[in-house]
Amino acid sequence: MTRRTFRAMGTDIELLVDADAATDELDAAEAEFERLEAILSRFRPESELSRLNRDGAIEASADLARVVELAVAARERTAGRFDPTVHDALVAAGYDRSFEEVEDDDAPAPPAAPAGGGVLVDGHRIELAPGVRLDLGGIGKGYAAERAAELLALAGDCLVSAGGDVAVRGGSWPVGVETADGTLTLELTRGGLATSGRDRRRWRRGGREIHHLIDPRTGEPAETDLLRVTVVCSDAVEAEVVAKELFFAGSSAAAGSDVPGVLVTRDGRTLLTGALA
């Protein structure tokens, strides 16, 4: 078993591969994260995503076009519970720079910026309606985890973890999930896993605690009785979308989901869903 850890996309990345010598594949997987961050980061002024947000329309790379396409499809599938157009709401809430640089601020937060608005993907051409800007933070990490796992799988069975987003290829992987009172171990042999929650990436604005999970329907940090949601889906991209969808839905609705998941409520309960229940 070989393990490599590094920082990318504002989070800790972990690569695990069932092989003794996999330097080339590990290098390729790490480079893939760096390559995709350079395309998908909204914090890098020279990234393709920043150019799209500035200009409103670009001929994009295959990767940006694909991630935007996946995000728009997720918006339709979840009836707007997942929406990549929350960019301005995140900025209004104070998350306008890499999270390490976000600071508490006593000034009141400006009014919420509503999400929604036209996003058109036609081949490699992406066009945004006037005033629409995209944030691909979570779904971008899931996508990068999947792409890196593809490269790493050339060396053997592998797991790629990008913060809360996990992609596996072959083998069986015990993955720890934080619950209300400890850690639950899930053995993952196929698919992807994602965790979304309000327990990290928090800051204070105008005397109020703010977190990064913006409810697209209100443009405000989501008010929900859930602290954290972990789900297992067909891949890390889908898991990222479903985790957010269930988080916004709240524990009553999310508990009825048939997706395998672990819900942790703010009052300290842990609920299992789908095949884990």
């Binding site: 899930l186 196929r190 965790t195």
Partner: protein, 91 residues
């Protein structure tokens, strides 16, 4: 008769010697070897890289094809009593 045959052989031999000599002179073996064109060298390097990339993509494609569609679509997960290899947190 014998002289006639000998003459024919001599003519044929002379022709062969003539053309071999011509070919040898046309090849200009004394000329210095021209320096390789750097653009050609760059193209050769690029071609080698593209071949390497193509082989790599073929490997990834083959790996994807090995995964049955139904299996890839459904996750497989269960709760176990094992120490975790990694712990997932809010991203």
């Amino acid at each position: 008769m014998a002289n006639h045959t000998a003459r024919l052989y001599a003519v044929a031999l002379a022709l062969v010697v003539f053309f071999v000599g011509w070919a040898a002179i046309a090849a200009q073996p004394w000329a210095p070897t021209a320096a390789a064109d750097p653009r050609l060298q760059a193209l050769n390097v690029r071609a080698a890289l593209l071949k390497q990339r193509a082989a790599f993509i073929s490997q990834v494609t083959a790996l994807r094809a090995k995964q049955p569609a139904a299996a890839a679509a459904s996750p497989a997960v269960r709760v176990v009593n094992l120490p975790p290899l990694t712990v997932t947190r809010t991203s």
